[in-house]
């Protein structure tokens, strides 16, 4: 037996922690072939993927663990010791700035008996001390204090028992992502063509974005894919689901349906499962009046090009596979944290341009709070849909009836204006791509399975 991580780690485990002779029997992680549950070509989906517990466990292993997952915004870390706790899949993690000002992420679980070493949501600290037996870790994740250290055998080396670090943490224009997968392509590569669309929100003027006001968190009784998929592909629901909110936004005397229904636009379909939809119009504007009046559309045209200013910069929706979504018009970005097949937790941030004057930032914050977020006049009706779909899908017969994702089948093409494959604004194309990616990951052994 050895405590050398290279020799003792893995054995089917996603981290290189010393495991001695431990090895997990494969019966613990049965694998389901999901080929028959997603028909991405024909646009059909089996509802079992939203309800089955084994499939959910497999998602944590094969969809979440290998993917780049959103952690936080760089603005949340201004000096060493600033920390924010969140989840990657169902794994609790601490994101913090170390003494060299690098943002790092650690599994929030003590290496001794597994308690959380940080139970605050955010704050500033010098170290993370476990309140169970008192092991303490510094900002670099090193185990720096062990009560009754002399009680351990000679071969016990604190160097082997630091916090488990998320091996890859990278950021794209302030959005920090992490992955457990040491062999993942770079974040930029994983975002691929999606980055061009994301930058329409993140790179208005080169000064970047910042967070206003902290994080909204709330629960939804629905599978995480329902919302992630919707933000990738579903402009279709807007007219019906949000009819009441559209009425509030419509200019007096104009029917909101005329205003919105006949809009043309595009939907970006990314081969890695990302998606973004947006109306296209030369006069597309930010909804919040103060933001609209302040914003320099001409300068944005020069920087981002006409196609982005007239499309994905303002109205629209987007998902970065698997569970990060955003709305450019109000700067709402969110993670759909999975909490079992039937539940999720929504964590939502509001991003604003760093260059905005304070009163414009405040206007965007208020607009976002009143439209999206748990009391938002749009968001409230979204939650209603997902919980409704989830609640009835336990029925045996209900669960067996396939769902339809056939809108815009075969419409994906290069349109010469929006890069990559795009479809119509009203289309399920990015949804089909989302589930194609999901299916492929679910049926592919993750890096740690290959190591075995």
């Amino acid at each position: 037996m050895t405590s050398t991580p290279e020799l003792a780690g893995r054995a089917g485990r996603p981290t290189a922690t010393p495991a001695g002779p431990l090895h997990r029997p494969s019966e613990l992680t049965p694998t389901i072939d999901v080929s028959g549950l997603v028909d991405a070509d024909g646009g059909l989906l089996d509802r079992a993927i939203f309800t089955d517990h084994q499939i959910y466990q497999q998602e944590l292993r094969r969809v979440f663990a290998p993917s780049w997952l959103f952690l936080a915004h760089t603005d949340q870390f201004r000096r060493p010791g600033d920390f924010f706790t969140t989840y990657m899949g169902e794994d609790p993690v601490i994101v913090t700035m170390d003494k060299s000002r690098a943002v790092r992420a650690y599994l929030n679980s003590c290496r001794h008996r597994g308690a959380r070493v940080c139970r605050a949501d955010a704050g500033t600290t010098r170290n993370f001390t476990c309140t169970y037996h008192g092991w303490a870790y510094d900002l670099e994740g090193r185990l720096v204090s062990v009560p009754n250290r002399e009680g351990y055998p000679d071969r016990f080396d604190t160097a082997d028992w630091g916090l488990v670090e998320v091996p890859r943490v990278e950021n794209h224009r302030g959005l920090i992502f992490g992955t457990w997968n040491p062999r993942a392509p770079s974040l930029r590569e994983a975002l691929g063509g999606m980055a061009w669309y994301m930058d329409a929100m993140l790179d208005h003027d080169g000064a970047g974005t910042e967070v206003v006001g902290g994080v909204h968190k709330w629960v939804l009784e629905g599978n995480w894919k329902l919302s992630a998929e919707q933000f990738a592909t579903d402009w279709y629901h807007v007219n019906m689901s949000h009819a009441s909110a559209l009425m509030l936004l419509a200019p007096a005397g104009k029917s909101p349906r005329d205003e919105i229904v006949h809009r043309a636009g595009r939907q970006y379909v990314d081969p890695n499962g990302h998606g973004a939809g947006f109306p296209v119009h030369p006069k597309n504007r930010f909804d919040a009046l103060a933001v609209h009046q302040w914003f320099d559309y001409e300068a944005a045209r020069a920087r981002l090009g006409d196609a982005r200013v007239e499309g994905p910069m303002t109205n629209g929706h987007a998902t970065v596979f698997p569970n990060f979504s955003y709305l450019p018009v109000n700067g709402s970005v969110r993670v759909w944290h999975p909490k079992g097949p039937d539940r999720m937790e929504v964590w939502a941030w509001t991003l604003v341009d760093r260059s905005m004057p304070d009163e414009v930032k405040e206007a965007q914050r208020l607009y976002n709070l009143r439209t999206f977020g748990p009391s938002g006049v749009f968001e409230a009706d979204d939650g209603e849909n997902w919980s409704e779909v989830q609640a009835i899908s336990r029925g045996f017969v209900t669960n067996s009836v396939p769902l339809n994702y056939q809108m815009g089948l075969g419409s994906e093409r290069e349109d010469g204006r929006y890069p990559g494959k795009t479809s119509e604004l009203y289309s399920d194309a990015a949804g089909r791509a989302f589930y194609r990616r999901w299916q492929s990951l679910m049926n592919t052994p993750a890096w740690y399975e290959v190591d075995r």
Partner: protein, 199 residues
């Protein structure tokens, strides 16, 4: 160490130490019961009449913090809030319910607002709040009360919201009006799929 209630009260409140007299206390309690009735019966336009035109209606989020950073556990003004409203933004939200397409409240929630632990104090008459009020405003009260709001929807959805309200009430010719309301919900992650009701 500042307490959470200091933190919430600070932006608005300048209460002095005088408790209200018995009849004012009675009047405030009855005012709240009437308000609860209007909310539970979805008579929102009548509820709006209890709100002053210069209303600030605020429900900050709360987070878990290290003990020495407890002062940060309630979001400050300008930070994340479940509600940060004016009278006109509340009117705007309420207009949605009449559209016939506000699905999150259609069919509507059954709610029950229980209001308790009412503590009425005179607010400092030199406070801005009195100054910004309508002519002749003299009596301003700082009132804290606890609430338990039960919401039941559809066949078996249930939510319980417990917390405290810190209000500034102004006496006018038409009776009491709510000028400030701070709602401190005793939750971190909101344990409901939305907030489409008022407190």
């Amino acid at each position: 160490m500042s307490t959470t209630s200091d933190r919430v009260a600070t932006p608005f409140l300048a209460a002095d130490d005088r408790h209200s007299d018995l009849s004012t206390h009675f009047e405030v309690e009855q005012f709240y019961y009437r308000e609860a009735e209007l909310l539970d019966e979805c008579r929102f336009s009548e509820w709006l009449e209890l709100l002053a035109d210069d209303l600030v209606y605020w429900m900050p989020t709360r987070t878990d913090r290290l003990r020495r950073q407890q002062a940060l556990s309630v979001a400050a003004r300008g930070e994340a809030a479940f509600y940060d409203e004016t009278k006109s933004s509340l009117e705007w939200r309420i207009r949605r319910f009449d559209s016939g397409t506000a699905w999150a409240e259609d069919p509507p929630s059954r709610t029950r607002h229980l209001i308790t632990n009412v503590r009425v104090r005179h607010a400092n008459p030199t406070d801005d709040l009195a100054a910004t009020g309508a002519d002749g405003d003299t009596a301003v009260y700082a009132v804290r009360s606890n609430f338990l709001v039960y919401r039941n929807r559809l066949q078996r959805e249930e939510n319980l919201f417990a917390g405290e309200r810190t209000d500034i009430l102004r006496r006018t010719g038409d009776g009491l009006l709510i000028v400030r309301r701070t709602i401190l919900l005793d939750q971190n992650v909101l344990l409901a799929k939305n907030i489409s009701i008022f407190f």
